[in-house]
């Protein structure tokens, strides 16, 4: 089976640390460049892309494009400064869609 890779996109101070565990890290901060990077990574066999929440909010269209595809899984991660709660929002939206009501309201 083809070996799949993991990438991380974001500003250097937030994502440089991932180099330590052997992931491919890309420093991008402009929306157009981030978007291009995502498409490039998707086309080049990356299975998981971690992206900082700040970067994720700038390229929602590109993320939505791969939302229903098997690969890559694009996962927003909190930055060094503060967490926007994007991941939780996404989970809530999915739960709401599945059961028809927000049952996680306490955890928000």
């Amino acid at each position: 089976m083809k070996k799949r890779k993991i990438a991380v996109i974001g500003d250097p101070s937030s994502v440089m640390i991932f180099k330590a565990i052997g992931l491919d890290v890309f420093y991008e901060e402009q929306p157009a460049k981030i978007e291009h990077r995502i498409h490039y990574l998707a086309d080049n066999g990356y299975a998981v892309i971690y992206i900082t929440e700040k970067a994720a909010t700038q390229v929602q269209e590109a993320i939505a494009m791969y939302a229903t595809a098997t690969f890559p899984a694009i996962i927003p991660i909190p930055m060094n400064s503060d967490a926007l709660g994007l991941g939780m929002k996404q989970i809530k939206a999915n739960v709401e869609k599945a059961v028809g009501a927000d049952i996680l309201f306490k955890e928000g």
């Binding site: 291009h36 269209e61 590109a62 939505a64 939302a67 229903t68 869609k97």
Partner: protein, 590 residues
């Protein structure tokens, strides 16, 4: 040959002392001379369906047989005529008796006084057989009426007339093989319940072009084909029938209004003289025969109207014309059968319809077809039959719809849901079918464009995919779809709204030529293919969906036929340019 009435039950009467009449003989009932037809014989008792109102009739009144079966008169004067179910001219009756048909009124079926200019096309000494053209009469500017030797006759021309004559004056004499000399007028009489003979039935290979996009592209009917249009009320059966009557590329149209509302026939009468045939430029009425038996006319005549219509259609077919007959609606006709059957106390079949419903329907539809006509010339003529069916409640599992579907090869299923969404013509693309599609593929590919059938297959595929995707969307919302599927949904919407939807009341949109249909469909599918390519090059979905060119694609149906070549070439160019711009923009981002 006369008997006495013993029983009257609505349009059915029973008379005794009728031992020597034959099945389907026409009789005159009572002193009022109402027209009736023998439909059952038991000993010397005959059951007679009366084509007129029977109020005031009672036992003891006389019944006289004419000794002839119910027949139609075939001669110049049919075109532009409006007849009732037993070929009585309604316009003449109106002049004589006013709004309602007076009982027992006796008027000739065709005008006996009018003189027609007869041009012989045979000369003395020619050998002729039944079906051979003796001469022609220019009946209307659109129709050259060919006077043929009646089927089954044979001989040598002894004398032929040249000049003006009425339809009953002898215009030629024939010496038969045994030496007898017979003279013939233009007029032919033919029993309605017997189909007119032909030499050979052929396989339909050519479509009947209707100018209706959903029909021509997706569910075509062949010349000589049979189609049914079932649908609940209000879904546009009558409008479709009218559209076909207006625009179908047939030489002659026979429109049978059978048990439907009177104002629908009025519409036809008002509209057709004003509308122009796109091919000849002449008023559509100049090629149309109307048979009207509206819902308030006697029920028995409704039963006959279908046969009257198809016999007239066959007569024109024998001249080598392509004829289309529309029957609106066969359900009312079946109801007439049911009414007569129950009065005859026959054992009822499904839902009270007589057991012979299916065979009667088949008898009607089987008289359609493309044939080699009788006569030595080998003309090809076609009768295409299109029947509307009005199933109660729109449920096509009822007997009339089911019996019809077993016979016809094209099924245009009208859907109440589509009509409710104002999608007209409300032909459901997932339920309808045409068994002629495969046969006609060769014709379309050769005469329109080589990739016509590929295009149509792709269109159907997209529409089917849309139906599947729609279910997902209904469950979890549009967000759950991938971008490729979103493009498919958008394309399907474009096909539905920009191609399949057609406004019958718009001057341009009401008729679309095959070339324009091809260009329209090609435009939509080209957008689809290019959009998918662009998507692979990471062009934003919103940019693709909101392309301004799509609005122009939507308006393409309003491009007049005359300008379509130029305008569509421009549209294709614009489409290319728009996509190039979008992809370049995407590259700049990088």
């Amino acid at each position: 040959m006369s008997g006495t009435i013993v029983k009257v039950s609505g349009p059915l009467i029973v008379a005794e002392g009728m031992g020597d009449v034959q099945m389907y003989d026409v009789v005159r009932v009572s002193e009022k001379h109402l027209i009736g037809e023998v439909i059952e014989l038991r000993g010397d008792k005959a059951s007679i369906q009366v084509y007129e109102e029977t109020a005031g009739l009672g036992p003891g009144e006389p019944v006289e047989s004419t000794g002839f079966p119910l027949s139609v008169e075939l001669a110049p004067g049919l075109i532009e005529g409006i007849f009732d179910g037993i070929q009585r001219p309604l316009d003449v009756i109106y002049k004589q008796a006013g709004d309602r048909i007076t009982r027992g009124i006796s008027v000739p079926k065709l005008n006996r006084e009018k003189k027609w200019k007869f041009n012989p096309s045979v000369s003395v000494g020619d050998k002729v057989i039944g079906g051979d053209v003796i001469g022609t009469v220019q009946e209307t500017p659109a129709v050259l009426h060919k006077i043929m030797l009646p089927p089954g006759k044979k001989g040598t021309i002894e004398w032929v007339f040249d000049g003006e004559a009425t339809i009953t004056e002898p215009i030629y004499k024939i010496k038969e093989e045994n030496g007898t000399i017979d003279e013939y007028p233009m007029l032919q009489v033919w029993p309605v319940r017997r189909s007119r003979p032909y030499l050979e039935k052929l396989a339909p290979e050519e479509p009947m072009i209707t100018g209706q996009r959903v029909i021509d592209a997706l569910f075509p009917i062949a010349k000589g084909g049979v189609a049914a249009v079932p649908g609940p009320f209000g879904s546009g059966k009558t409008v479709i029938q009218h559209q076909l009557a207006k625009w179908a590329d047939a030489d002659i149209i026979v429109y049978v209004g059978c048990g439907e509302r009177g104002n629908e026939m009025t519409d036809v009468l008002m509209e057709f003289p004003a509308l122009k045939d796109p091919r000849t430029g002449l008023p559509l009425m100049k090629r149309t025969v109307l048979i009207a038996n509206t819902s308030d006319m006697p029920v028995a005549a409704r039963e006959a109207s279908i046969y009257t219509g198809i016999t007239i259609a066959e007569y024109f077919r024998d001249m080598g014309y392509k004829v289309a007959i529309m029957a609106d609606s066969t359900s009312r006709w079946a109801e007439a059968l049911r009414e007569m059957s129950s009065r005859l106390e026959e054992m009822p079949g499904e839902e009270g319809y007589p057991a012979y419903l299916a065979s009667r329907l088949a008898e009607f539809y089987e008289r359609a077809g493309i044939v080699t006509c009788i006569g030595s010339e080998g003309r090809t003529g076609a009768v295409s039959a299109i029947g509307a069916v009005s199933p109660p409640g729109g449920d096509i599992s009822e007997p009339v719809s089911q019996a019809t579907l077993r016979i016809v090869k094209v099924f245009w299923c009208l859907s109440a849901a589509l009509a409710y969404r104002r999608h007209f013509p409300a032909i459901d693309w997932l339920q309808s079918y045409s068994l002629y599609s495969d046969r006609l593929r060769t014709y379309y590919n050769a005469s329109v464009a080589p990739d016509w059938s590929a295009l149509v297959t792709k269109t159907m595929q997209i529409l089917q995919e849309e139906a599947e995707l729609e279910e997902i969307v209904r469950l979890v919302g549009i967000d759950a779809l991938g971008f490729k599927d979103r493009i498919t949904m958008e394309c399907a919407r474009s096909i539905r709204e920009d191609f399949l939807h057609q406004n019958s009341f718009d001057e341009v949109d009401t008729y679309t030529s095959l070339e324009k249909q091809y260009a329209m469909l090609k435009l939509i599918i080209t957008w689809y293919d290019k959009a998918l390519l662009a998507l692979a090059q990471h062009v934003h979905l919103d940019n693709l969906i909101e392309m301004p060119i799509r609005e122009q694609i939507g308006r393409a149906k309003y491009i007049p036929e005359k300008e379509h070549k130029v305008k569509f070439a421009e549209l294709f160019k614009d489409l290319d340019a728009a996509f190039t711009a979008l992809t370049e923009e995407g590259d700049l981002d990088a």
